[in-house]
Symmetry: C2
Subunit: 122 residues, 2 copies
Amino acid sequence: MGGNSSPCASCKFLRRRCSQDCIFAPYFPSNDLCNFAIVHKVFGCSNIIKMLKDVPVDQRGDAVKSLVYEANARVRNPVYGCVGIISNLEIQVSELQMQLAVVQEEILSIKKQQEFTFTNAI
Amino acid sequence: MGGNSSPCASCKFLRRRCSQDCIFAPYFPSNDLCNFAIVHKVFGCSNIIKMLKDVPVDQRGDAVKSLVYEANARVRNPVYGCVGIISNLEIQVSELQMQLAVVQEEILSIKKQQEFTFTNAI
């Protein structure tokens, strides 16, 4: 039961007994079947255990959140998964950098023009 | 052999016979052990097969590339994986949007000032 009264979502999903030291229990509470089902579909049970064991206990909560996010992205976009999101963000960064460069160039040009007008006026 | 003379990287890695219709052979050529090893470590063999079968044949090359990218990100950053890259890019987008807003505000203010100067001069 992972210390709780009902088995965790993972043990419910895998139809097995939830032991006191179940590695999933702290991160997949009893009512959270959906999140476990999705990471199980993408990574598989033994891989999730290996990945959690590779990470310090105090960072396992964050690791689970990132695995759930990644698995959801893969289910929504089976070809590109998270990499599709990364590509879109990279395009957005590149476009914003270009816009910023253009606007900064415009400011520079206005300032030069003002300087020129001022110099000619005196 | 996936149609080639030597077994593909996946069959080499899994020490099994590489059949003519091996699903991995087109995407993990014989000399590409490293890429298969890394996706195998993160997703597991049966999950990769399921994910490839979920995707049209002409998009499987892209799916493999994204899985290799995602697996590498998870190995480099076991807590956040690709999600760490996404968070950093989101921060970068947000900072660039703020910078752009500031610079656009500056242009607006310069133009208003120019208009004011021009109106007062005539």
